[in-house]
Subunit: 189 residues, 2 copies
Amino acid sequence: MKVRTRKQEIFYTASRLFKEKGYTAVTMRDLAAAVGVKAASLYNHISSKEEILYEVIMTIAESFTKGIEEIRFGEGAIKDKLSLVVAQHVNLTANHPYGMASLNNDWMHLDSGKSQYLKLRNTYEQHFREIIKEGKTQGILKDIDEEVILFSILGTLRNLYLWIPKKADLDRDKLIESLGQTLLEGIEK
Amino acid sequence: MKVRTRKQEIFYTASRLFKEKGYTAVTMRDLAAAVGVKAASLYNHISSKEEILYEVIMTIAESFTKGIEEIRFGEGAIKDKLSLVVAQHVNLTANHPYGMASLNNDWMHLDSGKSQYLKLRNTYEQHFREIIKEGKTQGILKDIDEEVILFSILGTLRNLYLWIPKKADLDRDKLIESLGQTLLEGIEK
DNA sequence: ATTTTAAACTAACAATTGTTAGTTTTGTGA
DNA sequence: TCACAAAACTAACAATTGTTAGTTTAAAAT
């Protein structure tokens, strides 16, 4: 995440603080200090605290939904599509290591944007569900409750932001590979 | 979670609110209103807001760590132990549907209790890791990076609190069964 | 060099925060 | 019935919150 303008620096720094303490616990004075400025000065660049949250969350949420849409309607076998979903998650998380925390934990503090966000999330989950359904129809996936499959995979992927930073060593392609294997083929021999 | 005393009612109601909005965003006046009392009255039962968080989190955290310790050092095959870990997670989450949210998202707002909590969590993860290691040593588990296995399973389990309430229909034993299968054997045929 | 614009500052606001002090009500056992 | 303890209340506090107004400094454009 290359930072070009001051406004972007504010968004980025905010997302970092949001991850550490959560949106509500981060004050505008905290943020200002981290940026190296007085609280009031922030308002030369942004219009409200919530605007920051909105920007951080929606940017990522839109990428996710757009991405899975392309995967779902794209070419390729179901197994490959599932691998692509895992890969997209790893990549987006690696690109937005901080923002993912707000996406997961702070979306309820969105005001006007909350319904927008929930709509995107529902759409995302629906696309994912359809991919799984098709896999079951084709007889490629086991006959396990769809919701269990969906939330099992999604559960792991949603937590990626917590340990991707810690596992910087494990390179990205290896992670995509082994995580995909774990989630799709299981861990038992 | 049967509530017996007013104090327990406060803890329980608080954990419910904490799940909805997060610890920081819940005010003592919010909590008081939900309990049907004025904010100051809460202090006849508790000594601080943080005490509530501490109680909610530590009760559950201790159950987890104690539980996995028994599993790890108990009898039985590794595969069964892994299933037991999944089962314990489902059961504890079902028994503490709200508190799990704080355990996951609000522990950083613990003051004196934070290091205690982190110690419990590390111990938990370490026991889990050892079970996985033994599985690999015995040749029962695939040769996938331990950390990937650990956090993949744990990632899913940590999110259980978000959808167990929504899937009240899927009965508990079925959930343990299908979730265990998904996590351990994978979803591909 | 001068004007204009962008971005920092200081000071303050009204509202909200967790918490305390002191008082009144409620319920229980003697 | 009375006394006592538990638990509610009102009122207020000091600190902190997001935000605004007005001003000064720095940078860019003319």
